[in-house]
Amino acid sequence: MKAGLPSLAQAESRNSHLASALLLCYGLLWIWLAIAPVNRRDWLLENLLAFALVVLLVLTYRRFQFSDVSYGLIACFMTLHAVGAHYTYAEVPFGFWLKDLFSLSRNPFDRIVHFAYGALLAYPVREALIRLAGVRGVWSYYLPASLILAQSSLFEIIESVVAAFVSPELGNAYLGTQGDEWDAQKDMTSAFGGAALAMIITLTTSRGLKKTA
């Protein structure tokens, strides 16, 4: 199961340019979206974790470099989240467009980003598990999906705590339930579905690589 690893190691020497380019692009986009968000306090709440993640990635860059693919996926997710935070999720124009197109009852952008959380971050999580913890075999596909689901659950708990205690009136905007009692469960399902999909794709493509190599 070490098939995918040599290429990752080779990629390490090159990806300094890509990582800094992604960071620069994300930084510019982030600043642009930070200028006039729809709701400043909601924007701040949404960005606490995102900011922490970027700082963590920058600080650990010298010790542990992800592959180009992983940095690309993480940057995609962070971009989606930055857009969502700017529009407080429930008011993202693209979501309204989708809502009209498929005649949905709610703006689906937050659900899409929950799905993207699983679909885009399961691969980097798998990479970290393989290279840092020596996870092998079936476990390297199972654990990322399990961890995404767990983090999703943790996120829903944090969301509910924030909503209930920190700011009850802002709670609803931040929570983004849009009046759905099963919102938390659906969010977790999206993330888990995304992670499962990403792991299936990883499994099939890495098998494919092994055959050709």
Binding site: V135, S146, L149, A150, S160, Q185, K186, F192
Partner: protein, 216 residues
């Protein structure tokens, strides 16, 4: 053949089967009892089937039996009407039957160790991940449980919705349940780490061979 070890395992199994038969007698809500008994039954069958290939320690089997016992009692009384929970409600004036929350907590507290064992011996996980993964697995499974609950609730009893779920009218019930399991798992892992720190085996550098040979 029938060593002392086997007696413990057979005893646990007998206890659980006897308890299941007993709690199957006139449950408060037969349909609820049936639905909540599917997963434990599958789990027990799975444990028996994998016993030869991957035997867990006696501690793990005992913890699992304890958890299944709590769940069987809850299933019999549809959780929200469990006498112990009602008694606790009256003594501490909680306003709600907390037996389900207790069982969610036990899910984390009692099953984190079997999971740790599975990761240690089954997956060869080492170092701090050994404490992190069981906690996250409990968290993930709790999330999955709440998802399944919501599906069952909206498929079987769409009109009952939140009542069926045993949320007892609390919109944050799912989150609180998951949090309870998380606290249970954290406590279990903390105790485990403390015990190992005292013994000087906090971070076992190498997975030890599976459970001490039980064919004595």
């Amino acid at each position: 053949m029938w060593s002392r070890d086997k007696f413990l395992l057979m005893g646990l199994l007998l206890w659980y089967v006897a308890l299941s038969i007993w709690t199957a007698q006139s449950p408060t809500d037969p349909q609820f009892w049936l639905i909540s008994s599917i997963l434990p039954a599958a789990f027990v069958v799975g444990l028996i089937a994998t016993h030869r290939v991957f035997p867990l320690s006696h501690a793990s089997y005992t913890l699992i039996t304890l958890f299944l016992t709590l769940h069987a009692i809850g299933a019999h009384y549809t959780y929200a009407q469990t006498p112990v929970g009602q008694w606790i409600d009256q003594v501490f004036h909680l306003g709600r039957n907390h037996f389900d929350r207790i069982v969610h907590f036990s899910f984390g507290f009692l099953l984190a160790y079997p999971m740790e064992e599975l990761f240690r011996l089954g997956a060869g996980v080492r170092g701090w991940l050994l404490y992190y993964l069981p906690v996250m697995t409990v968290l993930g499974l709790s999330g999955l449980w709440e998802i399944i609950e919501s599906w069952v609730a909206s498929a079987v009893h769409p009109e009952l919705g939140i009542t069926y779920l045993g949320s007892q009218g609390d919109i944050w019930d799912a989150q609180k349940d998951i949090a309870a399991a998380l606290y249970g798992a954290l406590l279990c892992v903390t105790i485990l780490a403390a015990v190992r720190a005292v013994r000087g085996t906090l971070l076992p550098s190498q997975a030890r061979p599976a459970i001490a040979d039980s064919s004595t």
